[in-house]
C-alpha cells in the first residue's frame, strides 16, 4: 500500500484511430467514468494538434482540460498514439517537468511493449507486465 495516494488517478493509451488500447484507474472510481473523461479529452487533443499546424510540433500537449476535480494531460507520439493522464486536482500542483518526464518514461515502456513480436499493433494491450510497469511509474510520482 503506498504511503500516500499517487497524484495519478488514471493512465490511458489511445491508438491512432482513437481506439482505447489501455486504461488503468488507480482509485476506486468506476472505470467507465475514466473512459468518459479520456474520450472527451480526445477532442481537445485533436484541436491542439490541428492548431500546432506546421513547424515542430511538441509531443507533450500539456494540460488539456479540467472536469470536476480532475485535471487531464495529454501526450501524442509521431505515430499518433496518445497517452492521456488524469490527475486529482490538489494543492500540490505537479510541475510540468515532472509530468513531461513521466510521459517520456511511459513512451519508453510503451515502445518496449510494442516491440513484443506477439503484440499486434491496434489490439488492446493485454500484457500484464506493461500494466505493472505503468502502475509502478505512476506511483513513483
Amino acid at each position: 500500500m503506498p504511503a500516500f495516494d499517487s497524484m495519478f488517478v488514471c493512465v490511458a493509451v489511445v491508438g491512432k484511430n482513437n481506439d482505447p488500447l489501455f486504461l488503468k484507474g488507480f482509485t476506486d472510481e468506476a472505470e467507465l467514468k475514466f473512459h468518459y473523461i479520456v474520450h472527451t479529452s480526445l477532442d481537445v487533443v485533436e484541436d491542439k494538434v490541428a492548431n500546432s499546424g506546421k513547424g515542430n510540433p511538441e509531443m507533450y500537449l500539456g494540460h488539456l482540460y479540467s472536469i470536476e476535480d480532475y485535471k487531464v494531460y495529454g501526450y501524442i507520439t509521431n505515430s499518433k498514439n496518445k497517452f492521456i493522464v488524469v490527475m486529482k486536482d490538489r494543492d500540490g500542483v505537479p510541475k510540468d517537468n515532472e509530468i513531461k518526464s513521466f510521459f517520456r518514461r511511459l513512451h519508453v515502456v510503451f515502445a518496449n511493449m510494442f516491440c513484443n513480436p506477439f503484440y499486434t499493433p491496434g489490439q488492446p494491450i493485454t500484457s500484464e507486465s506493461f500494466g505493472r510497469t505503468v502502475a509502478t511509474l505512476a506511483s513513483s510520482l
Binding site: N112, C115, N116, P117, F118
Partner: protein, 181 residues
C-alpha cells in the same frame, strides 16, 4: 586464455541488435501463425537452427582459429566463452556437470533473442529460443560430436532462470565417403 583473444574482431561485422531481435521475433510469430501447434514450431525452430549450425561452425573455426578441444569440458568452455560471445554477445555460465562428464548446463543471464518478448497465454509449451538448440546440435555434429540439447528452464515461461542442457550422445567416427557406385 590466449586462444580466445585471437578472434579477429575486425572481421566481426555488427548489426543493430534490435533489428536482430525484431527479425527473430517476427520469424517465431509467423511460424506460430502458420503451424498453430507449439510443438511443431519448436521442431521447426530446432531444424532451422541445425541448418544454421552446420554452416556457422565453419565461420566460427575460421574466425577463432581454435584447434581441437582436448575433452568435452574444454568444448563446453569454448562454446560458452568464445562461441556465444562471438555470435550473440553473451557468455552463459557452464554448470551442473553430470557425474560422467557427458552432460552440462548453460545458464543464460540474458538472451538478446528475447528482448521485449512476452509469450502470450496459451503457448506455454513454446520454446522461444529453440533455434539455439539446433545451432549447437548442427555445429557440434560437424566436429564429430552428436549431442542432444534442450531447454530445461526458460525465463519467458515464468521460470527463475534460462537453462540449456547439452548432452553428448556419442563421438562420431569418420564415416567412409559414399562409394562411387
Amino acid at each position: 586464455m590466449a586462444k580466445a583473444s585471437n578472434i579477429r574482431l575486425a572481421d566481426v561485422k555488427k548489426i543493430n541488435s534490435e533489428l536482430f531481435t525484431l527479425t527473430y521475433g517476427s520469424l517465431v510469430a509467423q511460424l506460430i501463425k502458420d503451424y498453430e501447434d507449439d510443438d511443431e514450431v519448436n521442431k521447426q525452430l530446432e531444424k532451422m537452427g541445425y541448418n544454421v549450425g552446420i554452416r556457422l561452425i565453419e565461420d566460427f573455426l575460421a574466425k577463432s582459429g581454435i584447434g581441437m578441444c582436448a575433452d568435452f569440458k574444454e568444448t563446453a568452455d569454448v562454446i560458452s566463452k568464445v562461441g556465444f560471445k562471438m555470435f550473440l554477445g553473451v557468455i552463459p555460465t557452464v554448470s551442473n556437470w553430470s557425474a560422467d562428464g557427458k552432460e552440462f548446463s548453460l545458464l543464460f543471464d540474458d538472451n538478446p533473442l528475447t528482448d521485449f518478448v512476452e509469450i502470450p497465454p496459451g503457448h506455454q509449451n513454446l520454446l522461444y529460443s529453440n533455434i539455439i538448440c539446433g545451432v549447437l546440435r548442427g555445429a557440434l555434429e560437424m566436429v564429430q560430436m552428436r549431442v542432444e540439447c534442450r531447454f530445461l528452464r526458460d525465463v519467458l515461461r515464468g521460470d527463475d532462470a534460462t537453462e540449456l542442457r547439452v548432452k553428448l550422445v556419442e563421438l562420431l567416427q569418420d564415416e567412409a565417403p559414399p562409394s562411387d557406385e
